[in-house]
């Protein structure tokens, strides 16, 4: 089947097998290897992306179901060299170690903040329940999500990657203290 998807702002038209999962289409056909596969039962959430603005586990969506849709992956978050506030908050709060779950965790966190712009600890923990991390014990991830909430426009959620330059200027850069 022929499908057309817009991924991180670029339109792709391809023939796919009906059984192809979205995550495999993204990784193997489109080269979007920032989205990773961690399990085969949709439990780990490592493959989470945004499909028309909402988080999905891309291992539980067929590529053909995404026909005509707009997809944002971890690779499409940073704009013009500026990190998304959630990416920045993960860095600032040491919310990752090996980093394998991180793309999915960040994508899920953005969707969580869209639903609840100022979540308390319990809300963050429950909102991330479908994404497994084996390194961090989650504490710094929770801290990062709550920190990011203060750097995002309320309710901006998945759209917050298009943050204003003023907001981004106060919160950029990586690698420094």
């Amino acid at each position: 089947m022929r499908i057309t998807v817009t991924v991180d702002g670029t339109k792709y038209s391809d023939e796919v097998e009906p059984r192809t999962l979205l995550v495999h289409h993204l990784r193997e056909r489109l080269g979007k290897v920032g989205t990773v596969v961690g399990c085969d039962t949709s439990n780990c959430g490592a493959c989470t992306v945004h499909l028309d603005g909402h988080s999905v586990k891309s291992c539980s969506v067929l590529a053909v179901q995404a026909d005509g849709c707009e997809i944002t992956t971890i690779e499409g978050l940073a704009r013009e060299g500026k990190l998304h506030p959630v990416q920045q908050a993960f860095h600032d709060n040491h919310a990752l170690q090996c980093g394998f779950c991180t793309p999915g965790m960040i994508m899920q966190s953005i969707d969580l903040l869209a639903d609840n712009p100022d979540p308390d600890e319990k809300a963050v923990r429950e909102g991330l329940e479908g994404n497994l991390c084996r390194c961090t014990g989650y504490q710094n991830i929770v801290r990062a999500v709550r920190d990011a909430a203060h750097h995002m426009r309320p309710g901006a959620g998945p759209e917050a990657e298009r943050m204003s330059s003023q907001e981004s200027a106060s919160h950029v850069g990586i690698g420094g203290e």
């Binding site: 860095h91 090996c98 394998f100 014990g137 504490q139 690698g175 203290e177």
Partner: protein, 812 residues
């Protein structure tokens, strides 16, 4: 002279590694695609024990996209070579040959029988369906005591036994103390307990993968491995390849926890298949394959006896272990219980100790290192039985510990096992933890709840622990018959522009080496943090190393970096003296510059780097390089310690456990990067708490793994865990120049007994003395009802599977 620069060591630097990881520009092995690359898929045995009567691959070979299908005989002669085991713990250790693919018999469910190479991974997996294998099933042996019974079915008939090895240590015979038997007669109290270390899965988030490219001058293998250097050597030895023709690259590696310390059948198979086909091949496991065939951890029965005086003075400890090796021996699997053998005495100074371990074969996935490897098991046993002893004596468990632990002023202290603990301050860590935890307040509340018969009872769990980090020393590893050294290597390359490349043999998989090593080098050489690049995980650039496990990276690899930096400075000093026309003794090196004492004359290391590069004006005979190499083998282990306190609420009507607070004060010596230390502790706590509450790998009676997916094997999610209160004391190690001690395993080692002690403490007045892990609501409820230990007989259905899911709501 440049201004004084703030030291980097001790700063909570945010990590250099993060940028690629948070933007999705990471190099996982599975991201790699090479021209003409084929994909491998492995057909796995559904039976735990069976003869292979025949394998017919002809139909599979006709499937779309399939290029080749191989069985054990096709991979001959390589298949005759077994997978390596590097730790023959006794001269007569039984070590059955593990082939890359089973030829005549399968010994655990999941063992590989055939491999398909196809154009796509989907085609390779599709073709597995068309391989016809005829099996003749054999009786299955599961469980340590069943396997050791006199008439037990044998996993490997040819060995004539299911016992791989028996390893014994006695402090009396070793001359490190009295013998246990001697002191037992003086005891006023003797307590014996049986503890079970359930089988766990390391469960790194990135599944294992490898890619082999046979088209270059070297066979290049990318692998999601913790041990690229060891893998290179072992793969070469295993397959008879010339070692210099193999290059191993561990690119970004998504976690390990000991689970990626292995030389995999799939890795050696990929090397052979790639060579046969002359094309690059990739193998990437599914999660279900990973749970089934990546090695498991723990799985011990511990029979522990402690003897003491009525005043609480401990006289001796006896540990009798049975350890399940699974169907074969892993790379370091046989030695895992021995890593714990020297830690059962923990922080205590009793005079007598006896340890014995029997390593046993069963028809299960093999076991090997898992975070802490032997030390969590040891710490669990001693910290659990110290609580039982305190209860028996009617003492506060902290007081009992304090009575027996090594006092601050007694360091260095040689233990009953013969180890010398260089430094420690258990008093300071415990006092800080007590304050943060409000120990006395919680004890009062506990008494009130007991008195009022509150259905929610409160328990306080204590774990005061130490561990042995920094493997090497190589001579000690040699005395334990380990098949390699434990040194680590580093090299520093000062580039013409004054920027610095640092090569380390300690290949990281999430621990933040790039950041911590940069901090170390920045301080040593006085160059900016940003001007330092850390190279690791490629045997071409990092040509020597012993890799990352056992909290050894910083205390062995980090010190190698320090030693390499010292050599750079010594070379640069010679050049500086030459350029400034003074004696070397007149120079002092601070903040990246050599200054002439008593003058304002100075030259920076960057200027010297360019002078060396141009070589226009160097001392006669000076070799024009500032590069250096160092290999460090420590004289001793390091011994981080800490005090962990857990408050657990137990609903006596439902068995539900809620972790109300968790406080730990760890002493890891000097913390190079406190932010990274804190992160390591958090992650470790999660894994240790998960052993207490959630995780277990369970086999049914046919040897089928019933926890074969993440739907069944319960990794805790964010919703299952509490927030932790972590703090530190700092007692520097005296045996290395950084004063660092290691932190990677501390949280996992300490937290499991803290949680179990808390839950048992909450229920002790119901007559509960133990609850098997994972402490599911069913097991807890059963213990309350029966007032004794909740034994394993109700547990096998409860563990790991549905029973644990109930528990997941309990620990928020």
């Amino acid at each position: 002279m440049t201004a004084t620069i703030e030291p980097e060591v001790g700063k909570s630097r945010r990590r250099k590694e993060d940028e690629r990881l948070i933007t999705g520009r990471t190099r996982w092995t599975d991201n790699l695609t090479l021209p003409g690359m084929l994909h491998l898929a492995v057909l796995r045995s559904p039976h735990a024990h069976a003869k292979i009567v025949s394998v017919d691959t002809s139909a599979a070979k006709d499937q779309a996209g399939v290029v080749a299908v191989y069985t054990a005989t096709d991979l001959d002669p390589a298949s005759e070579v077994g997978m390596p085991c590097a730790w023959p713990i006794t001269p007569d250790m039984k070590s059955p040959r593990r082939p890359m693919l089973a030829a005549t018999q399968v010994n655990f469910a999941g063992e590989g029988v055939a491999v398909v190479a196809a154009r796509t991974a989907a085609e390779a997996h599709d073709a597995l369906e068309y391989i016809d294998v005829e099996y003749e099933e054999l009786p299955v042996v599961l469980g340590l005591e069943t396997a050791l019974a006199e008439d037990a079915t044998l996993v490997h008939e040819e060995l004539g036994t299911n016992t791989s090895a028996v390893w014994v240590f006695d402090s009396g015979e070793a001359g490190t103390g009295a013998s246990f038997a001697e002191t037992a007669g003086d005891a006023e109290v003797t307590l014996t307990r049986r503890f079970r270390q359930q089988r766990l899965v390391p469960a790194f988030m990135e599944p294992r993968a490898c890619v082999v490219d046979p088209t270059g001058t070297q066979l290049t293998m990318w692998s999601s491995t913790q041990i690229p250097h060891i893998l290179k050597t072992m793969a070469a030895l295993t397959l008879g390849l010339p070692e210099h023709k193999v290059r191993v690259i561990a690119p970004d590696v998504g976690g390990g926890f000991g689970g990626k310390i292995a030389v995999l059948p799939e890795e050696t198979m990929a090397l052979v298949v790639a060579q046969k086909l002359g094309k690059p091949v990739k193998w990437n496991e599914t999660r279900s394959e990973s749970l089934l065939t990546a090695h498991h951890g723990r799985d011990q029965i511990q029979d522990i006896t402690i003897t003491a005086k009525r005043d609480g003075t401990v006289l001796g400890l006896k540990a009798d272990l049975k350890a399940d090796m699974g169907a074969y021996l892993g790379l370091v699997g046989p030695g895992v219980p021995i890593l714990g053998a020297f830690m059962f005495n923990a922080i205590y100074k009793f005079p007598a100790y006896h340890f014995a371990c029997t390593n046993v074969f069963t028809n299960t996935t093999l076991t090997d290192a898992y975070r802490g490897a032997g030390r969590p098991e040891a710490t669990f046993a001693i910290e659990r039985i110290m609580d039982e002893l305190a209860a028996e004596l009617g003492m506060d468990p902290l007081e009992l510990r304090e009575k027996n632990w090594i006092k601050h002023e007694e360091f260095p202290f040689t233990t009953v096992c013969g180890l010398t603990y260089d430094s420690g301050n258990y008093e300071a860590a415990t006092e800080k933890a007590k304050q943060l935890f409000d120990y006395d307040g919680l004890r009062r509340e506990q008494a009130e709840r007991r008195a009022s018969g509150d259905p929610i009872q409160l328990g306080i769990g204590i774990s005061t622990f130490t561990e042995m980090c920094g493997l090497a020393p190589s001579r000690v590893l040699g005395s334990l018959d380990y098949g390699a050294g434990g040194w680590e290597h580093a090299a520093i390359r000062v580039l013409p522009t004054g920027k610095v490349e640092v090569v380390t043999g300690a290949s990281a998989h999430g621990q933040g080496h790039e950041t911590a090593w940069s901090q170390i080098v920045a301080d040593q050489l006085g160059v900016p943090f940003e001007d330092i690049e850390i190279l690791h995980g490629d045997t071409q650039s990092s040509h020597k190393g012993m890799d990352t496990y056992g909290s050894r990276s910083l205390v062995v690899g980090g010190i190698a970096v320090v030693k390499a930096a010292e050599k750079v400075i010594a070379k640069a000093k010679t050049v500086a003296a030459h350029l400034m026309e003074c004696a070397e003794d007149d120079l002092e090196f601070t903040g990246g510059s050599f200054g002439v004492k008593g003058t304002d004359k100075a030259t920076s290391i960057q200027d010297i780097a360019f002078a060396v590069f141009s070589s226009h004006n160097l001392p006669d005979g000076f070799e024009p390089t500032l590069d250096s190499e160092a290999t460090f083998d420590p004289e001793n282990f390091s011994f981080p310690h800490g005090t962990h306190l857990c408050a657990a609420e137990v609903d006596t009507e439902t068995g539900r456990i809620t972790l109300r607070s968790y406080v730990c004060v760890d002493d890891v010596g000097v913390a190079v990067n406190p932010l990274i230390v804190e992160g390591q502790v958090h992650g470790g706590l999660a894994q240790g708490i998960a052993q207490a509450l959630f995780e277990e790998a369970v086999f049914d009676e046919s040897g089928t793994l019933t926890t074969g997916t993440f739907a069944d094997y319960l990794l805790p999610s964010a919703a299952d865990l509490p927030s932790f209160t972590t703090d530190r004391t700092e007692t520097p190690s005296t045996t290395n120049p950084l004063g660092a001690k290691g932190v990677g395993e501390a949280g996992t080692i300490a937290s499991t007994p803290a949680v179990v002690n808390a839950v048992v403490d909450a229920l002790r007045h119901f007559g509960v003395t133990d609850i098997e892990m994972p402490m599911t609501p069913m097991r807890v409820w059963h213990a309350i009802q029966h007032g004794t230990k909740a034994a394993g007989d109700i547990g096998s259905e409860a563990g790991g599977g549905l029973g644990s899911i109930d528990a997941s709501g309990g620990a928020q």
